[in-house]
Symmetry: C2
Subunit: 492 residues, 2 copies
Amino acid sequence: MDQADPVVASPPSVGDMPSEEFRVQAEAAVDWVADYLRSVGELPVLARVRPGEIRSALPPEAPEDGEPFDAILEDFRSTILPGITHWNHPAFFAWFANTGSGPGIIAEFLAAALNSNAMVWKSSPAGTELEIHVAEWVRRLLGLPEGFEGTINDTASHSTLYALGAAREVAFPGVRETGLSGLPQGRIYTSEEAHSSVEKAVMALGLGRGGVRRIPTDPDFRMRPDLLEAAILEDVGGGVRPVAVVATVGTTSTTSVDPVAQVAELCRRHGVWLHVDAAYAGVTAMLPELRHHFDGWEQADSIVFNPHKWLFTPMDCSLLYCRRPEALAEAFSLTPEYLRTREQGSARNLMDSGVALGRRFRALKLWFVLRYFGAEGVRERVREHIRLARRVAERVEAAPGWEMSAPVPFATAVFRFAPRGVVPEEQDRMNLQIMEEVNGSGEVFLSHTKVLERVVLRLSVGNLRTREEHVDRAWILLSGAAKGLARRMAAD
Amino acid sequence: MDQADPVVASPPSVGDMPSEEFRVQAEAAVDWVADYLRSVGELPVLARVRPGEIRSALPPEAPEDGEPFDAILEDFRSTILPGITHWNHPAFFAWFANTGSGPGIIAEFLAAALNSNAMVWKSSPAGTELEIHVAEWVRRLLGLPEGFEGTINDTASHSTLYALGAAREVAFPGVRETGLSGLPQGRIYTSEEAHSSVEKAVMALGLGRGGVRRIPTDPDFRMRPDLLEAAILEDVGGGVRPVAVVATVGTTSTTSVDPVAQVAELCRRHGVWLHVDAAYAGVTAMLPELRHHFDGWEQADSIVFNPHKWLFTPMDCSLLYCRRPEALAEAFSLTPEYLRTREQGSARNLMDSGVALGRRFRALKLWFVLRYFGAEGVRERVREHIRLARRVAERVEAAPGWEMSAPVPFATAVFRFAPRGVVPEEQDRMNLQIMEEVNGSGEVFLSHTKVLERVVLRLSVGNLRTREEHVDRAWILLSGAAKGLARRMAAD
């Protein structure tokens, strides 16, 4: 029978990279990475290439025959690396600075080797349970009550999409089946300072960007609850259905903090879903002295917090907590026969919590990071980043012609060169010029935004390699560029 | 001034894992992974744990103080590993078998170390350009014409969501701003055999699952174009607006192939967006002898193909090609001030192609895989998997009581134990019992589905370690379990 068949071995050429070659090449990669992490601070932080330059160095077609791994690694070093903006650089201060930490990097390597996919429990029991479990660890560290179920998505954009999808299902029960056609207009409320991902999610969900009401903020860039309530009442009176309020703890431009407790009370009163975007600042809920910023978030229906932002976890890792996980499942769960398993009902299948079916083992790196640094180790590091950002703020406040543009509740300083006697539009151009000059140095990299219509600079501290010398150097470069610019303008 | 400040160094405790510790621990991880990849075939492929077992072995709270890395790695081995279903196992035949290959694993390690985020070109020029470039490499290998712009998402679920989001914008211009409320019902057409991700995307987009029309299939499980056209005509007559047709090359249950050329002609005639789901089978377009399955896909508006399925790339890597990238941008692009860069306009910002803002460096592993194996190396390996799946099919066809349930165009065999004189419902139970017994052996792992309402078994070959001995062993276990079951039933 079958066993008696002549054994015809598969040709040896069709396997994976041989085990010994893997060992040698992975060790070469480890050497490179260890050197890289030690010396990344010596590289230009912002890539010094022009658009198209990297592509022009690459052949137009994939090779027909396999190439030696050495050659690939060499091209990685010589061709790709010059086109990398180094997020792991100690003087990366742009957007929200972050860290792909050592333990996180090793965990990603292990996860790639396992290549497990936790779409259902059975396809990765450990992937499923560790995800649920580290989400619980983090929930406790953040001081959130039981009942918030966490799952890990790739980005806050998708986490917010899923959360607002659940809110949409609650506001319009059965909408997953019927669709929005023929239903009243639904409304999402968020502040003028909220992240663009809120609008993207609303667009994707078919609620329309017009379905977003941007509530004005107070002088500290916090959503005004009185105007939020007025908007809700106006909408309800006009037949528009409130779907959700998105409050932010740590907005992107200024890291301002919405008055979550007041917003939560309004949401409770009007029966509206509350989603809290703490993608950036969430980690600071671990610090008793900053916990007050989060007052009221325990009443939220959903919360997003990204460990890949300020919890030293490599991209991508976005935690979505939901206090009404049944709503998430009502909005998104769907089990075709080919994904049905015996454990249906006795174990959670993570695919039920969103759109993505495939789920790589993102929990592993978060577990490694939390254990390696420990909760107190995380707090110490976060505190140090806050100290460094405030150090910059002190420099700015003491410097003539410069001004802080917003308070510094976390580790992002927002400021502006605003010399007297220069019109605001000209000041805007000067700030952009200062930024380009400083970024062009290759020594530091920061980004800009607009606050009250004016261009301001942002310096965000979030990398574990950042020391005083790096933020001090940033300030020297900034103030030097401003002085040079002012001098040149005076000479004109 | 600033330079004269006393130098107060940051405390040494606040950094990342020290460089030398990283080197030692990453080397330990390499040793473990090299051993794992060599010997994974000796482990039970399906995890032998009960729901809750992994969690119960984990402490309820994160440690307050950091732990030695050795202890973490040891717990990974002793606690996590027993809960892993080994996707990289040579006898993993469930769902769609895949491979996290050696070069891909090393590339993931490098990508985690760089931790770059290609949201805009400037934030990762090489990440952006390599993504565009390897998508071009793959486009050429697949024989798709110029004009299909590729981007990499995490999963086909999101790729399909984005594609259908673009289709929705074309069908309802301006819907991103207005939302769907007040607009006519939109319709998505797909076959009865299409993947659940189509329905999930439609639900997320607010079109409603009721907005999906499942077109019946022919005896080979291919969408019937005549019924598709009838459905479109009926809808148009009834005021329902066709939004998109999703045709599949390689459906999930049976890997059937929709008649894409005929469907494309219908879509052209009726002005409907055509999305082709080739998430699984797409790689076979690289094989001249299988290219005919893809006839007509060059007329599609969008195509999804997942290199993490059958192109040896670790999770996650889903290529979305769009021939109307401006529609994708119309549906999703949004640039807040804090993401505006000088290169706006002169370089592509990948965030404009979907919902997710953050994008990790997924292109790197695909580049490594394509170069290491080479195009011809990929073809040889894919051909070998097809040969192995057909070998199983031959066994099934020759065995009394067994029957193939669908043709085998690719590397997935779909079959069923259907002994004479047993009613179909009883046969269903027998097949599930055979599957559980075989999976319980730990030697192989396969999954089931339903075809024409009947339970069938699926054996999918896609791992680079799979050899004849593994598929032969699977067949011995399957046929043995069936014989034992039949014997026990006869004895009752």
